[in-house]
């Protein structure tokens, strides 16, 4: 079964036990024993100095996957507006399609009622083709209705890859479709690769892993889906080797939209969805837009975030003032949301929004791993915290140890003088 200990090689050094993130290795008679918590993550194989851990994952008889072609993106729309994440994924899907080969296309799949007009926007952002699934019964999103028509189209047309935005709706629909088609789905991916050589480039640039056992010239064109696991403490790259399509969800803000090419042309296919009222077992009575201001953390260039270090909900008054001055938006840590100081819509991190602004101010945020997972790819991070040992300083480009109630007002006061202050330093160095 999967990971196993080769007993005559194991020296009982316990290095694997330390390396295992899942407490899946015990000691028995001075030898390591794999228990049922094992997820086959292979961390133990990497650390064992004696090659005493093996992996006998069964080679499943290869199904014929050659009938599956092209990359599809679920072009999620709500009330006739395409979600940003769908446009981001069309760009990413196009990149993946081109990595697979010159004949591989990216298709946007629009589901709804009277949504044909949205096809042009999909072309403008890079779709080679658009499938339209229109029916009066599809006017509002329902799990039952959308799962049926989308699964039917996939079964008929056989895409190789299907991508969904990890929105509340994408995360409701994608698992249901994957289960109906009996294929794999990888949640909340932060990186996708086709070619092994691209994966190696990524791994060498951004990770600590040893890639010497990977073959850059391999003809493997499977989707390599990288995601945070274990609360962001570990990254895992997931593959779907034996079933198709390969399905993944990607969080909003992770991928980049292509430049809009106004009036771009593409192939439009109107499919004929088979849907009856009896297929839909729920009744969506009402869709209510919240009155609260929509926080667009994913689009912001500057984010000013506050955490538990603010000490009270009133602290967000200062953060708001800071954001207003810098032209940024207000973010927060989970601790501040859990304390009830600010709405969840502002939360940055693993269970909140993933952001990568040009400038991120972390004010009174200690830097729990879940928070870091959601903001550490920001271009520039400034941390202000009383505690010099706070983990946030490990990822900060600039760190300030001090009282944020004293530091932030000074930054606000001096903000408009930045240019002059900078000029002054140049003048001095020229003397």
């Amino acid at each position: 079964m999967a990971i196993y200990v080769i007993e005559d090689k194991c020296k009982g050094c316990k290095l694997c036990i330390k390396a295992c993130p899942f407490e899946a290795i015990d000691m028995a008679d001075k030898l390591a024993v794999i228990n049922e918590k094992c997820t086959s993550c292979k961390q133990c194989i990497a650390v064992c100095p004696f090659d005493a851990i093996g992996n006998d994952e069964k080679e499943v008889e290869k199904a014929d996957l050659s009938a599956y072609k092209d990359v599809w993106v679920y072009a999620e729309q709500r009330a006739g507006a395409i979600m940003n994440v769908a446009l981001e994924l069309i760009g990413e899907g196009r990149r993946l399609a081109r990595e697979i080969g010159p004949d591989t296309k990216v298709w946007a799949v629009l589901i709804g009622d009277k949504i044909e007009g949205l096809a042009q926007e999909c072309f403008d952002y890079g779709a080679d083709g658009v499938y339209i699934l229109e029916d009066a019964l599809l006017g509002k999103f329902t799990t039952d209705g959308y799962t049926k028509v989308f699964s039917d189209l996939i079964t008929e047309r056989k895409p190789e890859i299907v991508l969904f935005g990890a929105t509340h709706i994408g995360r409701d629909l994608a698992p249901r479709v994957a289960a109906r088609l009996n294929t794999g789905l990888t949640a909340d991916c932060t990186r996708l690769d086709i070619k092994v050589s691209s994966y190696i480039d990524y791994a060498e640039k951004y990770t600590t892993q040893d890639t010497s056992d990977l073959d850059a010239a391999s003809d493997d064109k499977g989707l390599k889906q990288t995601r945070p696991a274990f609360g962001g403490n570990l990254m895992a790259t997931i593959i779907t080797p034996n079933t198709r399509p390969q399905m993944a969800t990607v969080r909003p803000g992770v991928m980049t939209r292509r430049e809009k090419a106004e009036g771009a042309k593409g192939e439009l296919v109107k499919a004929d969805p088979q849907i009856a009222a009896s297929d839909i077992r729920v009744n969506v009575k009402d869709i209510v837009k919240s009155a609260k201001e929509l926080v667009s953390l994913t689009d912001a260039d500057i984010i000013c975030s506050g955490g538990r270090g603010l000490g009270s909900p009133e602290g967000f008054g200062l953060i708001k003032e800071f954001a207003d001055k810098t032209g940024g938006v207000v973010g927060s840590s989970r601790a501040a949301v859990d304390a009830g100081w600010i709405d969840h819509a502002h939360q940055v991190g693993q269970t909140g929004t993933t952001v990568k602004p040009k400038l991120y101010f972390a004010c009174g945020i200690s830097g729990a791993i879940q928070h870091l997972a959601g903001m550490q790819s920001s271009d520039m991070i400034v941390a202000i915290n009383k505690d010099p040992d706070a983990p946030i300083f490990e990822v900060a480009d600039y760190g300030i140890v001090g009282d944020l109630y004293k530091v932030i007002p000074e930054i606000v006061a001096e903000w408009d003088n930045a240019e002059a202050l900078f000029e002054a330093t140049i003048d001095r160095s020229a003397e």
């Binding site: 407490e23 086959s40 292979k42 039952d144 990770t207 209510v288 791993i369 900060a396 001096e414």
Partner: protein
């Protein structure tokens, strides 16, 4: 007519308590407690609230995991659940969400007829939010995910829920039997009661393996049957530590920061 409710729960490591060794860059997991997954506690609480109102409601908590997960199930019983079952077998190890939902759907089917399944939206160790909907698919049930408000009519069949969206919510009507996944806005989970703990320890928690569940380790559950496989896993590269700014006064520090940001063309 008494309601029969299934609650799906998972024992998870408290990922908030995990830290990275600053030197070795490895996980420090010593002393990390195992807990009842947060969203699942909300799922159980909602079932318990129904039982508060309709005391003949029967709640069964179903979990999959290693034998130690029994501790978490005892906690669920002590909170007020009537019964708990654990799917546990080395043959279930390494299951992805597709395979996990096969095992849990089999366990639920084995328990017989039910009216409602409550699950947490997602577990804090995997964060996939896939197992709830995939159980629903395998049992051919309608579902509503991200439930923040729940109301059942006196007929004990018609349910009205609120479902959270990023920018608002939906009001949805659904009938039993169905699958609902809970988020923390739904309620505040209760604590275990002293009497509950005493009673819970006396209860037997059946453990079902692949054979009792009637699932095939080659085709339905476990690592080999899972459509997704781990290709590689690794710890993320830590970003290099930057510059610590110091100065006589806060104004000095603020000025140094702005000069730095300006020199790097960030502002």
């Amino acid at each position: 007519m008494a309601l029969k409710i299934i609650v799906c729960a998972k024992q998870v490591p408290d990922t908030n308590e995990i830290k990275i060794d600053p030197v070795k860059k490895t996980l420090i997991r010593e002393g990390v407690p195992s807990i009842l997954n947060h969203d699942d506690a909300n799922a159980l609480e909602e079932a318990l609230k129904i039982k508060d109102k309709y005391p003949d409601t029967h709640i069964t908590v179903v979990s999959m995991g290693p034998p130690q997960a029994k501790d978490m199930l005892i906690e669920c019983l002590a909170m007020g659940a009537d019964e708990a079952v654990l799917a546990s077998d080395r043959a279930l190890g390494g299951s992805d969400t597709w395979a996990t939902s096969n095992a849990l759907a089999a366990a639920i089917a084995k328990l017989g007829a039910f009216d409602l399944i409550f699950a947490g939206r997602q577990a804090i160790d995997g964060d996939t939010a896939q197992v709830g909907p995939q159980i629903a698919e395998k049992l051919n049930l309608p579902q509503v995910t991200y439930v923040t408000d729940f109301e059942i009519q006196a007929d004990l069949k018609s349910i009205t829920v609120k479902r959270a969206l990023e920018d608002g919510y939906e009001v949805i009507e659904i009938k039993t039997p169905c699958m609902l996944t809970a988020i923390k806005e739904l309620n505040t989970p209760r604590y275990m009661s002293v009497g509950g703990i005493f009673e819970a320890c006396k209860k037997d928690i059946p453990v079902w393996g692949a054979a009792e569940l009637g699932v095939d380790p080659d085709k339905e559950v476990g690592l080999d049957a899972s459509p997704t496989k781990v290709f590689r896993s690794f710890t993320p590269a830590p970003k290099g530590k930057g510059e610590m700014l110091e100065g006589e006064t806060e104004k000095d520090v603020a000025r140094k920061l702005l000069v730095g940001l300006k020199s790097k063309h960030v502002i």
